[in-house]
Amino acid sequence: MHSTWRGIVAGLLALAALAAVPALQADDSACLMCHRDQAAKGFGLRAHGLGADPRGEQTAIGCTDCHGASEAHAASPRAAPDFTFHGEQAGAGDEACLSCHSDAGLGHWAFSEHAGTDTGCVACHSLHTPTDPIQETGGEFAVCTSCHQQEKHGQMKFSRHPMQEGLVKCSDCHAPHGGAAMNGLVQPTVNETCYQCHAEKRGPFLFEHEPVQDDCTHCHDPHASVNDQLLTARQPFLCQQCHIASRHPGTLYDDDRLGGRDINIIGQSCTNCHSQVHGGNQPASSTFRR
């Protein structure tokens, strides 16, 4: 008789939980007998908890659609559900997501760096909460830098892209789901990715500076730098990594020259004169001056 009353009380508690989140699926009711917290978190407000589309175009998604039938778990809570998406299932569990999310943006997931390192969907996406933090304004930086610590550090440097403020997002340049180009970027090359915002550097120019056309990252660290303009090294030392040819490129720039305020070392250094270093069309551009 006591077990009967316990059943009644449990049933009423479950009823209260389900009434609070009417969108949750009928098939989930057995799960929600125990997992009442999932209902309280607002799962029913998300696409996965909306239920079947009355027009019949979208079918309802229930707990077992992602976590599997999990009969052993239903019989004994100590047994894990079929799919937990954590631990050893971190990467393998993605198949459950991809069985529905096989659209254009995710077609190349299997070739992505994240898939290659068992960084599964749930490592970045929260499904049981009313909103997915990574999709909220400014949320992407916090989620990405929970693993990519160097980029978090970079936001404390002198020169940086404004990622912390959410004005530039990681996904503006990177394809976390694996892009068609298979280089981890949203465009086929580094340069084309940069040209999305810096189109004035695109050319084509009559006087091309080879390293610039080859790869912007020869000179710039796109995340952040201790040097101005995201440069990988300070001028003139950056330029001297390639240019130590005759006359002033090979000059030893030291404190003696600084004391004389040599224009090759003060101000913008080499680009005081060679300001068209990204390329140009004018005759003086043969030395990238103007």
Partner: protein, 676 residues
């Protein structure tokens, strides 16, 4: 008893009834109003904000509306507008999941390169003239102005699902305006820095058709981008060389770029996928020159039709043999073809064009050993042919082989660790023409570092250790070393160390604390020659060595405290210390005339950044929150390249790049009674 069973089953029946019953529309409306005060109107909060709030007292606001249909819960709409410390913006979206989506987004923000500057020119017109009576920067009056760019971005996106087809279009536009500092010179030695007006517009349109049916999914996309530069040319009189003619300076013409691409995936089986990508891109830049190109006094060219064509082909195959073992194969080809003709400017001077062709193949495999242990490894081979077209055409090749392996070790108690090792070998095959230019006795051309032979390797060790149920520690160490095999030209080596440590403590259910620290150290060594010296030494080929050391360290503390059911406090504090040092030395007194191994260091260059962000959020009622936020940022920079005295040399001077700014923001956020 039967009645009891029926009662126990009631929740399930009710749930079924709930799921099928018509629902009411769900609406959410909210509004925020507030004020902010900034102690330093020029404070930047990370270089990219503050100009929107040029007044010391400014308003904050947000309006939002979200709706979801009760009859059709897949249909929703959202409207929002905001004015924050960082940006102004508005967005709207109307969507039905799996059917259509219409989105509109606008935002405006500012970026500041540095703070105010001194210049001999007033204003920011496209024709900058020297003041009457100007005789040189030494005696000129300096005028103060601010440099910086304002960006306005708008985007309209449309998505429509038609059975297996998904059609999408995205139209975006960005306006960039303001001033940035550029250098110009008539000859070497008379460089002047000038604040150049910027007025550009960048429009992009992307159309995509995606099709998914059975094992096939394919995409066809067209991307178009057009840059129009309204600040096309800029005229100025050289303030350092008063003999120089007034010059019209080209600020860059318009350009266009378009790309047609196709990519797709074929599921050979559940565990085998084939992927491909192909694209054809065309970039153009047409320009009428400000002045014709003269060869021996004769005008030979007055306009340019520059064109570049890029082609990409990629193929990938992935096979998951079983739950433990899988591998991937990738191959790609890219061709960059500049189709502009080389022109001759003088007997020795030609235009300079560049083509590039790349072949790449990659294979990697991963094996899960169980007990949390896994091993993966990969091999990549790449060949790049770089062709320089100028007076003559020549091609330099380089092959790169990269091998990496990663091991996730089994847990040692509570300690989880992983190790990754990567090695790379670079072999160059330089053309005879390139080698001829690199004659050590009289070099005339640079040797790009990507053509240097060399090798590099790096290793990374990561670990995390839950010390207790509420305290955990994570650490990461990475070392990278690049070595170059060139004997006399260019770099010797580059090394980098990265360390990061994170400590997280959930002190109680209401209090969470985390501390983090990161350290980065770069070392760059270069040995060069002062060829044909114009400077201190009169000895040709005097060898020198330079050492650059960059160190960056950052510490941070984050606190989240739920003081009561209604009050939550957060505090983020961070400090960063970035230093660079430069040391130069002559290596041989016989050549240089200097004392052997004499050391002559430049002053160090350092930037310290401190940030504090504190927030108190009080739930006044279930609908209303009050938020008080304090933000502080201090940047302290010591830079030997910039001094006020440079005005006399470059006709230009920066104010100190350092700043200190406080901001206090108070806002009330109200959620109107939602329906239902």
């Amino acid at each position: 008893m039967k009645a009891l069973h029926l009662l126990c089953c009631l929740p399930v029946w009710v749930a079924v009834a709930n799921a099928e019953a018509p629902r009411e529309d769900l609406t959410q409306r909210w509004m925020s109003l507030g004020i902010g005060v900034s102690e330093n109107a020029n404070g930047r909060f990370g270089e990219y904000s503050q100009l929107l709030q040029t007044d010391r007292l400014f308003g904050l606001g947000e309006l939002g509306y979200r709706w979801r249909s009760g009859e059709d819960p897949y249909q929703s709409a959202r409207l929002a507008a905001r004015s924050t410390l960082e940006q102004l913006g508005a967005s709207a979206e109307l969507a039905r999941q799996g059917d259509y989506r219409i989105g509109l987004d606008y935002r405006q923000f500012e970026s500041i390169s540095r703070e105010g500057y001194d210049s001999v020119y007033r204003g920011d017109t496209l024709q900058q003239s020297l003041p009457p009576g100007y005789s040189g920067p030494e005696t000129a009056t300096a005028f103060r102005a601010d440099a910086g760019l304002q960006r306005q971005q708008g985007e309209l996106s449309l998505v429509r699902q038609l059975g297996p087809w998904q059609l999408s279009a995205a139209l975006a536009s960005e306006d960039k305006s303001g001033r940035k500092v550029n250098g110009f010179s008539e000859r070497f030695g008379d460089a002047a820095l000038v604040a150049v007006p910027v007025d550009q517009r960048h429009d992009t349109l992307e159309l995509t058709a995606a099709h998914a049916a059975g094992p096939w999914s394919s995409n066809l996309a067209w991307y178009y981008s057009a840059l129009s530069n309204d600040a096309r040319a800029f005229g100025f009189a050289n303030p350092v060389n008063l003999e120089a003619p007034r010059r019209a300076v080209d600020l860059g013409p318009d350009n266009t770029f378009q790309r047609l691409s196709a990519d797709g995936l074929y599921r050979v089986a559940d565990n085998r996928h084939l992927s491909w990508f192909a694209s054809y891109a065309d970039a153009r830049q047409d320009e009428d020159f400000l002045e014709p190109v003269l060869v021996e006094g004769q005008a030979v060219l007055d306009s340019l039709d520059a064109r570049r064509v890029d082609t990409d082909l990629r193929l990938g195959f992935r096979h998951q043999l079983n739950s433990r073992l899988g591998y991937r194969l990738k191959a790609d080809y890219r061709d960059r073809d500049n189709r502009t003709d080389v022109i001759q400017l003088s007997a020795e001077d030609y235009s300079h064009l560049y083509d590039r062709r790349r072949y790449r193949a990659q294979a990697d495999a991963r094996y899960r050993l169980g007990a949390g242990m896994s091993v993966s490894s990969g091999l990549e081979w790449q060949r790049v042919e770089r062709t320089t077209r100028s007076r003559e055409s020549y091609t330099d090749d380089r092959d790169t082989t990269r091998l990496w392996a990663a091991l996730r070790l089994p847990s040692l108690g509570r300690l989880n660790t992983s190790l990754r090792v990567e090695g790379e070998s670079r072999n160059s095959d330089l053309s005879a023409e390139r080698l001829a230019r690199l004659d050590v006795a009289a070099p005339s051309e640079a040797l790009p570092q990507y053509l240097l032979e060399g090798r590099s390797w790096s290793y990374q060790l990561r670990g995390d250790l839950p010390l207790t149920a509420s305290l955990s520690l994570a650490a990461d160490y990475r070392h990278t070393r690049d070595s170059y095999d060139n004997d006399y030209y260019g770099l010797r080596g580059r090394e980098r160390d990265d360390v990061s440590v994170n400590l997280s403590w959930q002190a109680s259910r209401d209090l969470a604390l985390s501390a983090w620290g990161q350290y980065q150290h770069d070392r760059l060594d270069q040995q060069g020659f002062e060829f044909g010296p114009p400077g201190r030494t009169t000895y040709a080929n005097a060898p020198w060595r330079q050492q650059v050391r960059d160190t960056s360290a950052a510490l941070g503390l984050n606190l989240r405290w739920q003081a009561s059911a209604a009050l939550e406090a957060t505090l983020d504090i961070s400090h960063s210390d970035n230093d660079s040092s430069y040391r130069s030395r002559w290596l041989d007194d016989a050549d240089s005339g200097e004392a052997a191994n004499s050391v002559d260091s430049l002053p160090g260059y350092g930037v310290d950044v401190q940030r504090v962000r504190g927030e108190l959020e009080y739930a006044w009622s279930p609908q209303t929150d009050i938020t008080l936020q304090y933000r502080y940022e201090r940047l302290d920079a010591g830079d030997w390249a910039w001094q006020r005295g440079d005005f006399a040399v470059l006709a230009f001077g920066w104010a100190s790049p350092g700043y200190e700014a406080h901001a206090l923001l108070l806002s009330v956020h109200h959620r109107f009674a939602d329906r239902p």
